[in-house]
């Protein structure tokens, strides 16, 4: 049975549309009945249908943060020039998710969804709804980057350019274990009750712990030392930041939604397209790829991304320097976006 959650509404995240894909077969088996993708668009699709940019979302994020941080007039992702589609990943609370579906697939019975399911669903949305055969760019951060990589490998003919930010094509064992800690923070809370809670507030202790786990690896050691949390809002002390920002951000989220995404995050792997051969998978990419890890990222470190992008025929490593680490994705570091903008402009100017 669906749970009413005032957080997952247009009032909080801004307007969005729903695209129904009907009964959607999943890579792990089974079917998600009446799969709905929540998306929004900005700008206008041109007649040639060749100015479309697709942006998938990251863990716990929605289209709202991607639009607010990354899209705008006179920006690289300029809606006056491009038709920008931002799609919420399955399980994120706005697209079909444990708390908003009914019946046999609700809550703890929500089926296992993979990055590849998201990308297959997004491909249908892009093609069926907008008649787009080729995307000028696919760009996203973190789990959004995982979807970008999958797009470039699975549908090479449809992806002209790809910009995975702070994310890998094949999740690493360390990242798997890190994400497991996020999962454990929730599932160790007795209030979680194997997913059968009546209201997310019963799991508030686990959600807060989840947030505190995420913060320690999310920012960087130096970010905390230099007290850059002061830049993220009006916090008098680190304790205030932790309570109001770190815990406050996570408290309204649906625990089963986070668990659905975390399971997906752990298993992201483009080599599933090529019988486990990562080099073969990345070698299939025809897009021009600018891979942008963040220098101080503690769980998607530049080393791991450098290893992968070296196998991409037209791939380049573009490290974004920031002591904000992975959370730099939210552009809390004023030096972050200018670097991303320069790279995206250069990438979009490449006419290969």
């Amino acid at each position: 049975m669906a749970i009413e959650n005032p957080f997952y509404t247009p009032e909080v995240h801004g307007p969005y549309e729903l695209y129904s894909l009907g009964d959607f077969p999943l890579d792990e088996g089974g079917v998600l009945p009446d799969l709905q993708l929540a998306y929004t668009t900005v700008g206008t699709l041109n007649e040639a249908r060749d100015n479309a940019i697709l942006i998938p979302t990251w863990y716990s994020g929605t289209h709202e943060v991607m639009q607010r941080v990354y899209v705008g007039p006179e920006r690289a992702l300029d809606p006056n020039r491009y038709f920008i589609i931002i799609v919420n990943q399955i399980g994120n609370g706005l697209s079909s998710s444990p708390h908003n579906v009914d019946g046999a697939h609700a809550g703890p019975n929500f089926p296992k969804v993979r990055i590849s399911d998201d990308v297959r669903a997004q491909e249908r949305l892009v093609r069926e709804l907008f008649g787009i055969e080729r995307l000028a760019l696919v760009v996203g951060g973190s789990m959004g980057a995982q979807q970008v990589w999958e797009w470039a490998v699975r549908f090479p003919e449809m992806v002209r350019r790809a910009a995975p930010i702070a994310g890998t094509a094949q999740n690493t064992p360390h990242d798997f274990l890190y994400t497991q800690n996020l999962i454990d923070a929730i599932t160790h809370d007795p209030g979680w009750n194997n997913g059968a809670y009546a209201d997310p507030s019963e799991v508030v202790s686990g959600l807060r712990l989840h947030g505190r786990f995420a913060a320690v690896m999310g920012w960087s050691t130096e970010w905390f030392k230099q007290e850059h949390w002061r830049r993220t809002g009006d916090f008098a002390t680190l304790e205030d930041f932790q309570r109001e920002f770190t815990e406050g951000y996570h408290e309204p989220l649906d625990p089963n939604s986070l668990l659905s995404m975390a399971w997906k995050w752990q298993r992201s792997d483009v080599a599933r397209n090529t019988d486990g051969d990562l080099q073969a998978a990345l070698g299939r990419i025809t897009a021009t790829v600018f891979a942008m890890p963040i220098s101080q990222d503690m769980f998607f470190p530049p080393r791991d991304v450098a290893y992968e992008v070296a196998m991409v025929p037209h791939g380049e490593l573009r490290v974004i320097e920031s002591i904000d680490g992975h959370m730099g994705l939210m552009a809390t570091d004023p030096g972050y976006l200018p670097q991303v903008e320069v790279n995206l402009r250069e990438l979009l100017a490449i006419e290969r």
Copy 2:
């Protein structure tokens, strides 16, 4: 009331002596009645009493691991040449600790102990029991390094040389939050029961989570990617390693013991000796200091140690290269000990 715990015995950790300091006043206030330090010695104190080396212990460790990994004939820490004293930190399960004291200070009522309390107690042991006025070297890793730093600042006239490995003089905010996660892993377990469990096995779920969280920051991303856990024992899969090593290591530990040490770890700060002035504190050090952070350490990164050792008059930064990260302290990387040995030999040869 004391809890029988078969883990904290000579059968597991090898023989040790107890030195009683009587009622010991603590820096946080109050008194620890009949404080016992568990220690062992190797080698012989010479007539001049100037060949003594002191080794304090790290979080969850005892004298056993320090002796096994770092001490031996023809090693830098050679018992044929030096009189080596290994002292268990307060709260570690062998020295006075929550589970082994009786009465009003038992279990959850064990008083707050600081690094400075350990060092004051160790100074008495060294002086009263052995008549040593000056130590040839104080060396330790992690929380052991925190004690080394405190020794060099608090008793400069007694410390001729100091070698803090993988630890800082002043704990960082990031490290505080990381340690808080370790604490939370235990205290969020309902079995912990505010410390009033009857047996540590009631907290096994929290202890396992504590272990899994420690592992993610304890090793490095690259260590997991290269599957170096295969070097730590006979494990067929990463899951086996996690269950048998990561969880298995933590399961027999006393939860309140870990919490006592974690609280201490979080608040390690030599600047408490100088009204918060870190530069003044480190400037007091007369010892020759070789500070040895481990290159891939995720919570005591070289950057933080470099910042501190630059303020030490006769201090040098000696980074130990290892992808094993912080856990490299256990010498799982065959390239680790040779680097430490070279530095310790060079340090011990300096006659300033």
